[in-house]
Structures are given as structure tokens and as C-alpha cells.
């Protein structure tokens, strides 16, 4: 091997050499796409760039399916429990003995599941974009950014080292930045991409400090050994991190909460969510990929990855569940009032992520109590499918109508039949209607919450009702409501290339719920048989139906009911419509406080005080010499007087004073 890359082929042979390389190829193929399209795309590939990238990703998706099959059904299990396998790892940067950033691949149920989700959704988006983005000026660039994102996301989910996760975490952030800012000449897109990056960056600060704390006490950055050291209550590492405290809170909790802040930023949880709605400025397929299905769930993934450690700290878990439930409810309320269809979807994403988060928060580590964990992962999986579907459907609508606003839509079911059906399936799925995917996963979440914390359960139940309301509000507003009046030429749906991903995803959204998820993904790797309680699911389904019928009543036909209702809760409606003025608050904090109270004084201080001191040194030198040059008057007799006075003075000095 290369002398630089001392790749430790841990068990790569036990997987079979081909499988090892296959594993490596999964992230490397999108990277290849990024590099080749980024460097040569504009010149050589042009319109074939999309096909090229799609083929690479198809290969990658195929390989990850292959790996998933192998892992779940062939070699992943050891004595009934799924193992964490690290087939590839090499030292990337050694800080000190024991503390190093190792790049590697960690296979365990969640990473393999994420592998499949990421590559599959990404492939769908690639295919969809072939038609959707056709004719764009920077078509190859678009695909190269998609490649970069997919690579980073894959690196993130397969990370074997917390710092590796951080590295790819930043990379997905930047690819999201690049893709949101894809329409670079729109000022709103530029503002949105900056906002997204800066807010997640702010959250990453917490993540970074959390990593620093964990690494200091854990003495390692490697996930496996970190988890091992910090979860056994007897280890010295655990004892020190649990006993070390700052402001009365243990270092462990601090570290986990800080890490969670990082996750909350990326997953757009309250109150760090403000970037997500604005991020909808990006191309719609990108929103489907990054801001619905994959990147935004990175926070959930992070908490799940460190879940054994989280489960050691009650407080940290409590924070996770509280933030999760607040986000879920908060976003759902806002989603009911928004009129931009992508923004509704964005808030719905935030709400669903809130579901996953509090589900993790109410979970325990082992056995039955780990239901929350499984449920969160299950919901992550199903949500990826139906939310991507929703976004792609929305994209298809926007593609047809060239607008994001609900008021421009209505009655589109005749023009977009396939979109209509798939969108309906997705809406049913997200509303938790049996037998669609969302029903099963949401059911498990609610069950986990019910067992753990009644308050959370009731709020979650209410939120799930709201969910079906706003989703069907969306559905009816787009496809029913008023009749669509076509202006000029009407082109149909995007054709097969655009419809195929919708169909595939709707199949997934319809059927994914039947996967016995507890068999594969559990907190402790052991099998978890989730019992299905019929009586338990009555309440959520009933509430969901209520939501749907309310939406139908209000939006199926054009009428003034929505306005009346909005009018009757005037102030609250306004509050929700303006997203509870959080954006304004952020603007106030950044513009007023950061810029005006810190930035400006700092710049002023530098210009006037520090620089002024330097200039003052120079000026005082000039001033003094200006004064001193008067002595050099050219008048001989003056010199003589000074001289004489000097002589007399020195004489007196030497004779009488310094004898």
C-alpha cells in the first residue's frame, strides 16, 4: 500500500476483498462525479453531465444495497446481535497518542440503513433532476455539487470517528450552502445560503466544543472506544467525566448537550430552525434530497450514533426530548399558516424531525425500553421516502406552474395525474394513515412516548393531528380548490424521467411500513419485536382523519372558511404566519448586537485607538523634533550662551553636587 495511507485492513478480508472495495466505492463514486464534473464538466461533458453523474450514483446505490443485504442477512450478526464492523480505517491526523482523527468506515445497523436511504434518495433526485434541471446554464456544476453532497453525506453516516463525522458534517453543510446558493443571481438565494451556513456553523461550534470535552475525558475520538469507555460505569473515564462539573452540571451532560446543539442546528430544531424555510430557495430536487430526506436528519443520526452515551445522562436525554417535542408542535402550527408550498413542506420536515428527536429522547438503551430508538430510526427511514416524494411532487407542480404560492394553484389533478396520486400517497403516509409507511413508524414513536412520558405523548398526538391537517390543506389547495385556468401553452408532466422517481418513492412510501424494523435497527443490536396494539392506534388515526376532514371542509372547494377561521384567531394566526417572529429576533441579534455592538466598536477601536496609538507615536516624534529643531537656530551667539550655560551648569554640578 501507499506509504502514506497506512490503511488498516481490519477485517476487510473477512468481508471478502471485493466487498471491501465495494464499500470504499460507495462514497468514492459520487466523489469522482464531483471532481470530474467540477473540473471538466463545463468543457467536456455539458449536457451529458447528468447522465454521467446518475450512472455513477446508480452504481453507488446498487453497491450500498448489496452491502446492506450482506450486512443484514449474511455477516452482520454475531450471536443474534448486529455487530459494529470497521472494515477500513486509517490514521488521518494524529494529535497525540490515542487521540487521532481516523478516517474509516463503520458498519452497524444505522449506518447501513442510512447508506441505503442516502444513495437511494440521491439516485431518485439525480434521475428527477435530469429532466427538472435540463437546460440550466450550470447543469454540470449542479451535478457536481450533488456528487459532493452525496459523498459527504455517505462519509458522515459511515464515520467511525467522531471527528470524521464532524469533518463530513461540515462538508454536507458546505454542499448545502452551495446548492441553496445555486441560483446565485437571486439575492434571496444568496441570503438564504449564507443564513443556512452561518446558523449551522453556530451550532457546529457547540458540536466542536462537545467533541473537545468528550475527547478530553474519553481520551479517544473513535466512536467504538469512546462509547465503550463512557458507558461502562466502572471505567475511570466515565467516573471523571461524570464527576467533573461546571455550573453544577456534569461534564458528560455538557458535552452531550453541546453535541446535541450541533445536531439541532443541522436538523433545524427549535430555535435553530430559521434557516430551513429559507433554504427552500435552492432547486426543488435539492430541497428533497438535502433539506428533507438526508442532511437534516444528520442531527438525529448524530444523537443515535452517540445514543449509548446519551443514555448515560438523564438530563441530556430530557433536553433532546423537550427540544424535539417543542420543534414538532411549533413547526406544525406554523405549517398550517404558510402559503408557499415548499415552506409548508419545510416546516413539516422540521416537525417530523422533532418527532424523531423526542422519540430518541424517550428511549432507553436496552431491550424493550429501546423502542424509541428503533421508532426514531424507522421514522427517519419512512420520512425520507415520503418527504422526498412530497418535495419531488411539489417540484413537479412548481415545474408546471412556475410558482411556489398556493394561491396560484388549484385544480391541478387533471393536469398532473401521476403527481396527484403520488402526492396523495405521501400525504396519507405522513398523516399516519394505515397502511402507509408513516402509520407504522409514527405509531411506534407514540407508543414509546406513551410509555415514557404522558405529557409528551399528548402533545405528540395533537401534533400528529395537526400534521394531517396541514398536509391535506396543502393537498387540497394544490389539486382541488379552484379550477386551474391555463395561460397559453400547457405542457404536461415532466415525462417519464421525472415521473419514475415519484412512482418508485410512492411505492416505498406505501409499503415501507411493513418492514419489521425492530429486527434490524435497535439500540443495542438485539432483535426487538414491536407488538402492534390495535386499540392504541385508534386515537392517532382518528385524529388524523379529523385533520383530513377539516382540511377537506376548508379547502376542497374554494370558499371563505379559511379566512373566517384565520380571522377569528386573528392575533394567533398572525403570530404563526410570521413564524412567531423568530426571524426578526435573529435579525435583531445579528444586525443590532453582533454587528452594531461588537463588530462596529471593534473596527472603530482598531481604526482609532490601536491605530491611533501607532500614529500618535509617529506624530509625537514629529512634534518633539519640530519643537527641538528650534535649538538649531543658526544663531551663533545663542549656541554660545547655551554652551556657556552648559559649562557653568556642569561645573557647578561636578564641583558642588557630585563631589
Amino acid at each position: 500500500m501507499n506509504e502514506f495511507l497506512q490503511i488498516k485492513l481490519l477485517g476487510i478480508f473477512s468481508l471478502g476483498m471485493n466487498l471491501g472495495w465495494a464499500l470504499l466505492m460507495i462514497p468514492l463514486l459520487p466523489l469522482l462525479g464531483f471532481l470530474s464534473l467540477g473540473l471538466f464538466g463545463k468543457k467536456y461533458l455539458k449536457q451529458s453531465a447528468g447522465i454521467f453523474a446518475t450512472l455513477l450514483l446508480a452504481a453507488s446505490a446498487f453497491l450500498s444495497l448489496h452491502i446492506a443485504y450482506g450486512y443484514f442477512f449474511k455477516y452482520g450478526k454475531l450471536e443474534g446481535a448486529y455487530q459494529k464492523i470497521i472494515p477500513i480505517q486509517f490514521t488521518w491526523l494524529q494529535f497525540s497518542p490515542g487521540l487521532s482523527i481516523d478516517l474509516g468506515i463503520l458498519l452497524d445497523p444505522i449506518s447501513v440503513m442510512m447508506l441505503v436511504v442516502v444513495t437511494f434518495i440521491s439516485l431518485m433526485v439525480h434521475i428527477y433532476s435530469l429532466a427538472y434541471m435540463k437546460g440550466e446554464e450550470r447543469y454540470p456544476t449542479y451535478y457536481s455539487f450533488l456528487g459532493l453532497f452525496t459523498f459527504s453525506m455517505l462519509g458522515l453516516v459511515m464515520a467511525s470517528n467522531i471527528f470524521q463525522l464532524y469533518i463530513f458534517w461540515e462538508l454536507v453543510g458546505v454542499s448545502s450552502f452551495l446548492l441553496i446558493g445555486y441560483y446565485y443571481d437571486r439575492p434571496s438565494a444568496v441570503a438564504a445560503c449564507k443564513k443556512a451556513f452561518i446558523i449551522t456553523r453556530f451550532a457546529d461550534l457547540g458540536f466542536l466544543i462537545g467533541i473537545l470535552i468528550l475527547s478530553f475525558y474519553g481520551g479517544t475520538l473513535d466512536f467504538n472506544s469512546l462509547i465503550e469507555k463512557l458507558t461502562s460505569t466502572n471505567s475511570t473515564e466515565f467516573k471523571t467525566i461524570a464527576s467533573a462539573s461546571f455550573v453544577g452540571i456534569s461534564a458528560l451532560t455538557w458535552a452531550l448537550v453541546l453535541v446535541f446543539i450541533g445536531g439541532a442546528g443541522k436538523s433545524a430544531l427549535f430555535p435553530l430552525h430559521v434557516w430551513l424555510p429559507d433554504a427552500m430557495e435552492g432547486p426543488t430536487p435539492v430541497s428533497a434530497l438535502i433539506h428533507a430526506a438526508t442532511m437534516v436528519v444528520a442531527g438525529v443520526f448524530l444523537v443515535a450514533r452517540l445514543f449509548p452515551v446519551f443514555s448515560m445522562s438523564e438530563v441530556a436525554l430530557k433536553v433532546v426530548s423537550i427540544i424535539g417535542i417543542i420543534s414538532a408542535l411549533f413547526a406544525a402550527v406554523i405549517a398550517c399558516t404558510q402559503t408557499d408550498i415548499k415552506r409548508v413542506l419545510a416546516y413539516s420536515t422540521m416537525s417530523q424531525i422533532g418527532f424523531m428527536m423526542f422519540s430518541l429522547g424517550v428511549s432507553g438503551q436496552a431491550g424493550e425500553s429501546g423502542l424509541g430508538f428503533t421508532a426514531a430510526m424507522f421514522h427517519l427511514f419512512t420520512h425520507a421516502l415520503f418527504k422526498a416524494l412530497l418535495f419531488l411532487g411539489a417540484g413537479s407542480v412548481i415545474h408546471f406552474i412556475h410558482s411556489n404560492e398556493m394561491k396560484d394553484m388549484g385544480g391541478l389533478r387533471k393536469y398532473l395525474p401521476i403527481t396527484h396520486i403520488t402526492f396523495l400517497i405521501a400525504c396519507l403516509a405522513i398523516s399516519g394513515m394505515p397502511p402507509f409507511a408513516g402509520f407504522f413508524s409514527k405509531e411506534e414513536i407514540l407508543l414509546a412516548a406513551y410509555h415514557h412520558n404522558a405529557t409528551i405523548y399528548w402533545i405528540a398526538l395533537a401534533t400528529s393531528g395537526l400534521t394531517s391537517f396541514y398536509m391535506f390543506r396543502l393537498y387540497f389547495s394544490i389539486f382541488w380548490n379552484k379550477e386551474y385556468i391555463a395561460h397559453g401553452e400547457v405542457h404536461g408532466e415532466g415525462g417519464f424521467v421525472m415521473m419514475m422517481p415519484l412512482i418508485l418513492l410512492s411505492l416505498g412510501a406505501a409499503a415501507a411500513g411493513f418492514i419489521p424494523f425492530g429486527h434490524f435497527v435497535t439500540a443495542d443490536g438485539n432483535l426487538l419485536e414491536s407488538a402492534f396494539h390495535l386499540q392504541f392506534s385508534i386515537a392517532p388515526v382518528a385524529l388524523g382523519l379529523l385533520g383530513i376532514f377539516t382540511a377537506m371542509w376548508m379547502y376542497k372547494k374554494q370558499n371563505n372558511r379559511p379566512d373566517t377561521i384565520a380571522h377569528s384567531m386573528n392575533s394567533f394566526y398572525k403570530l404563526a404566519y410570521h413564524k412567531f417572529y423568530l426571524d426578526e429576533l435573529y435579525l435583531f441579534v445579528t444586525k443590532k448586537i453582533l454587528f452594531n455592538l461588537i463588530g462596529k466598536p471593534a473596527a472603530w477601536f482598531d481604526k482609532n485607538v490601536v491605530n491611533g496609538l501607532v500614529n500618535a507615536t509617529g506624530n509625537s516624534t514629529v512634534f518633539i523634533s519640530e519643537k527641538m529643531k528650534g535649538f538649531q537656530s543658526g544663531k551663533v551667539q545663542q549656541y554660545a550662551i547655551y554652551f556657556l550655560a552648559g559649562v557653568i551648569g556642569l561645573a557647578v554640578l561636578f564641583i558642588y553636587i557630585w563631589k
Binding site: I641, L644, A645, V647, I648, A651, V652, I655
Partner: protein, 172 residues
């Protein structure tokens, strides 16, 4: 009170009074003449101290040479009969103060210090002794300073000529 004492005092008075007049009179030619008298008085003092050779040199060089040189330069540069410009009051006051302080300080030192004459046998400043030592190269000889002074004089002469030469108009 011997004759010698009276002569000393007379000479001192002549020297100092004509010195003072020389630096205060506002007629430049008179200043030169007072200077002449002062120098003569000094020569008298040398005679009084029985240093005849140096007294003679004083008269020839100073009285005969330098004063004449000065008078010539007065003729060359000055309109005759014109009063010298007055110095401003402050300057005079400060000069007086400085001169007086310096004078008082020096005098105080002179009075407080007692000079002791050596006990070794004196050498008389006769022409013979002076001549031998001036050109002697033994340890009492002064031939090196003598030569240095001669070179200095030469340099001064050349310098005078160079400085006083009317610079030619540079026409190339």
C-alpha cells in the same frame, strides 16, 4: 608698595579697562584700537613676569600682525564712521549674567584652591633654553608640536587663499 606692584596694577588696569572698552564701544575702529592697548598691556604683563621672549612674540604677532589684519578687514568690510548695531537688551542681560556667574565661579575656585610651587630648581626662560627645547627631540623637546603647528599654519594659509578667492562664475 614697591614699584613692581604699582607697575602690575597699572598694567592690569590698562589691560582690563581697554578690554572692556574694546567690547563695549560702538565704534568699530575704536574697538580695534582698544584691543591693541589691551594686547599691549598683556605684553607688559609678560615683561613684568620676566618672560621677555613671549612678550616680544606677543607684540610682534598680536600687536603687529593680528591687529593690523583686523584693521584691514574693517577697512574692507565697513563703512567708516558707522555705529555698530545695538544688541537687544535681553541678550545683553543674559550675557552679563552668564559672564558674571562664570567669573564668580572661577574666581571662587581660584581663591579656594592653594597652588603650591614645586621645589625643583627653575629653568630660566632664556632664549637659549627656549631655542634648545623648541627644536629638541629629547624628552623636554617640542619639535613634534612645532612641526605640527607649522603644518597647521601652512594649511591655514592655503585655506585662507581658497576661501578668500573670488569664486569664478561657473560657465561651461
Amino acid at each position: 608698595m614697591s614699584g613692581s606692584t604699582i607697575i602690575f596694577y597699572l598694567l592690569s588696569i590698562l589691560t582690563l579697562v581697554s578690554g572692556i572698552l574694546s567690547v563695549t564701544t560702538r565704534k568699530i575702529f575704536r574697538a580695534a584700537i582698544f584691543l591693541l592697548f589691551s594686547l599691549i598691556g598683556i605684553a607688559g604683563l609678560y615683561f613684568w613676569m620676566q618672560y621677555e621672549f613671549i612678550a616680544a612674540v606677543q607684540i610682534t604677532v598680536y600687536v603687529g600682525g593680528i591687529t593690523v589684519l583686523i584693521i584691514f578687514s574693517i577697512f574692507l568690510t565697513q563703512q567708516a564712521g558707522e555705529l555698530l548695531p545695538k544688541q537687544n537688551k535681553n541678550r545683553v542681560l543674559f550675557a552679563l549674567l552668564a559672564a558674571f556667574c562664570g567669573f564668580a565661579l572661577t574666581l571662587l575656585q581660584i581663591i579656594q584652591h592653594s597652588f603650591n610651587k614645586t621645589l625643583e630648581s627653575p629653568i630660566l626662560p632664556t632664549m637659549e633654553n627656549i631655542g634648545n627645547q623648541m627644536l629638541g627631540i629629547d624628552e623636554n623637546g617640542f619639535s613634534l608640536p612645532f612641526e605640527v603647528v607649522s603644518i597647521l599654519l601652512l594649511a591655514a594659509m592655503i585655506g585662507c587663499i581658497v576661501i578668500a578667492l573670488r569664486s569664478k562664475p561657473t560657465t561651461v
